[in-house]
């Protein structure tokens, strides 16, 4: 439970046979058996803790190359994230010399990525990407913690509590953002030099906020593929309510482009084209800031009927006496925030976060991990929602037989 509580993670390190060090192994050691046979648009994905002992975090392996060359490197422990856009690599694991992009106003193009728990600073560089049989050329990616640019601008370091510029602090060797949008910023950054976003750096320590064209922004690499470029599908097997040491599934590129990525029987939910939000109806409440997110490590929602944990290490997580079985309805959402479509119901369960960490301290697959969330209008369907489901993400502006993105379908 390292990513729930650092102290508990240390306990894992003491009790587990191996800890930290290498990247996420694709085979794992849990009861999940063999994964599907890879084909050209399918890559194996695994929940196994990865390089930083993270629970409910989905990883894969990619290959990056110096653009236009055969100089390549395979990197495992790459988190699969439908809640962000673009590939970000920890510079400490990259052995290639990658070309840094130029800013429109001169100098190097740098980026600050403020996630809520920390900020990540580093240059935008181009890579050729290979994942499964798919290839993408000259993709703008972020190199986090690049020693060539050690000076973090003050507006970047003010955007979040701590720096996340190492594998341990970031929780992965990199992150592959394949959510329903194309760029990580979009049109706002084309017209406005926003604080803690993109920078033009004329020296490593002389950086100013800058605008950046859409094509130069860090962006969803799926759109660079030649064929299977309209979205992706994450397919994970079911897991027992008590959890598992690891879980193996597949990430399939494209929607309705091959025989293995057809949507059938799934409900398509349009997501708000500005925010990516859907609407969740839960316990009589209509929650219009909801989202489905493989990058969240639990189901986060508010239900005052469920006891929260008392251990200070589990602040905000739920600790019911047994297992609570619940359900909600997920609906699509228009640009004005109103719900659209009839939606689909989904059941989920909540188990005691403290108990499972004590009974199964080496488990990284915790389907009942759930906690509270800020505000009254939000429901975050994190990775446990993906267990036992096949969830598609349609990218904004790309058309499939199920409709034009942005959407999610399950």
């Amino acid at each position: 439970m390292k990513r729930v509580l650092r102290g508990a993670g240390l306990l894992i390190c003491l009790s587990a046979i191996s800890c930290g060090g290498g990247g996420g192994s694709l085979t794992g050691s849990g009861p999940s058996g063999t994964g599907p046979t890879p084909s050209s648009n399918v890559v194996s994905v695994v929940v196994n803790g990865g390089p930083a002992d993270s629970v409910n975090t989905l990883f894969t392996t990619i290959t990056v190359c110096v653009p236009g060359s055969n100089t390549c490197q395979t990197i495992d422990g790459i988190q699969i994230d439908t809640g962000s856009y673009g590939l970000r690599l920890l510079a400490s694991v990259v052995t290639l010399s990658l070309p840094v992009s130029a800013a429109s106003g001169g100098g190097s193009l740098l980026e600050c990525t403020p996630f809520l728990d920390g900020y990540s600073w580093g240059p935008v560089a181009l890579v050729d990407l290979q994942v499964s049989g798919e290839t993408a050329s000259s993709v703008p990616v972020q190199l986090i913690g690049d020693s060539r640019f050690p000076t973090v601008p003050s507006d970047c370091s003010s955007s979040a509590p701590v720096a996340e510029d190492t594998v341990a602090s970031f929780g992965a060797n990199g992150i592959l953002g394949i959510g329903p949008f194309v760029q990580d910023c979009g049109s706002t950054c084309v017209t406005t030099a926003i604080p803690a976003a993109y920078y033009s750096c004329i020296t490593e320590s002389t950086c100013t906020n800058t605008t950046v064209a859409l094509a130069s922004q860090v962006q969803n690499p799926v759109t660079f593929f030649s064929v299977d470029n309209n979205g992706s599908i994450i397919s994970l097997p079911n897991v027992a309510s008590g959890g598992a040491a690891s879980l193996t599934g597949s990430l399939i590129f494209g929607i309705d482009t091959q025989s293995n990525n057809q949507l059938s029987g799934q409900t398509v939910l349009a997501v708000d084209p500005d925010s990516g939000f859907i609407t969740t109806v839960f316990s009589g409440q209509t929650l219009s800031s909801s989202f489905i997110d493989s990058g969240s490590n639990g189901i986060y929602f508010n239900d005052s009927n469920i006891a929260t944990c008392t251990d200070s290490g589990f602040t905000g997580f739920y600790c019911p006496a047994g297992t609570d079985s619940l359900s909600a309805t997920l609906q699509g959402q228009n640009a004005d925030g109103t719900a659209t479509g009839t939606g689909a119901s989904a059941s989920f369960s909540v188990t005691n976060a403290e108990t499972v960490s004590q009974v199964s301290p080496d488990f990284t697959v915790l389907p009942g991990l759930a906690g509270t969330i800020t505000g009254s209008g939000t429901f975050d369907w994190g990775l446990p929602f993906f267990y036992g489901r096949k969830i598609a993400t349609g990218i904004q502006g790309y058309t499939t037989s199920a409709g034009t993105g942005p959407y999610v379908a399950f």
Binding site: P114, L116, D117, S158, F181, G316, G375, G382
Partner: protein
């Protein structure tokens, strides 16, 4: 459009003096200069000043009748400058986040004198920070959205 963006950018550091735990600054003057980009509302025993940042993010400052800012809430495509928002509380926010780390999508810090809660995903974040001991009587946490 361009001029109002410039005005906002120039005024935000000034407005940020209305930081958590500090006196509400010259919000009325700022509001006039911002030409409506600040929305004030009086809710009886507290006031809310809503500021739209150039990034599109909305920041709402809650001040009591004593003029002290007791809470700040935000939502939008970018996270606001937390050092400006939290002021002298930034250090304890940073220290607390170090010891409690979940994923990249949630932050929940509960100290005796400071609560920070935030969630969201890229392009759509929301959160709030408040001083639990400074919340005026009759105000509930649910009001701070």
């Amino acid at each position: 459009m361009l001029s109002s963006t410039v005005a906002l950018a120039a005024l935000w550091p000034c407005l940020a003096s209305a930081t958590l735990g500090e006196p509400e600054s010259s919000v009325q003057t700022d509001s006039e200069r911002l030409q409506g980009s600040i929305k004030d509302s009086d809710r009886g025993n507290y006031r809310v000043h809503e500021i739209k940042l150039p990034s599109g993010t909305l920041v709402r400052e809650y001040s009591g009748l004593d003029g002290q800012v007791f809470a700040v809430a935000w939502n939008g495509p970018f996270i606001p400058d937390m050092r400006q928002t939290l002021g002298s509380y930034f250090a304890s926010y940073a220290a607390a986040a170090k010891s409690k780390h979940a994923d990249h999508r949630h932050l929940q810090i509960e100290l005796s004198d400071l609560v920070v809660q935030a969630s969201g995903h890229m392009r759509a974040w929301s959160g709030r920070a408040y001083l639990p001991q400074a919340i005026p009587a009759g105000v509930t946490i649910g009001d701070l959205t």
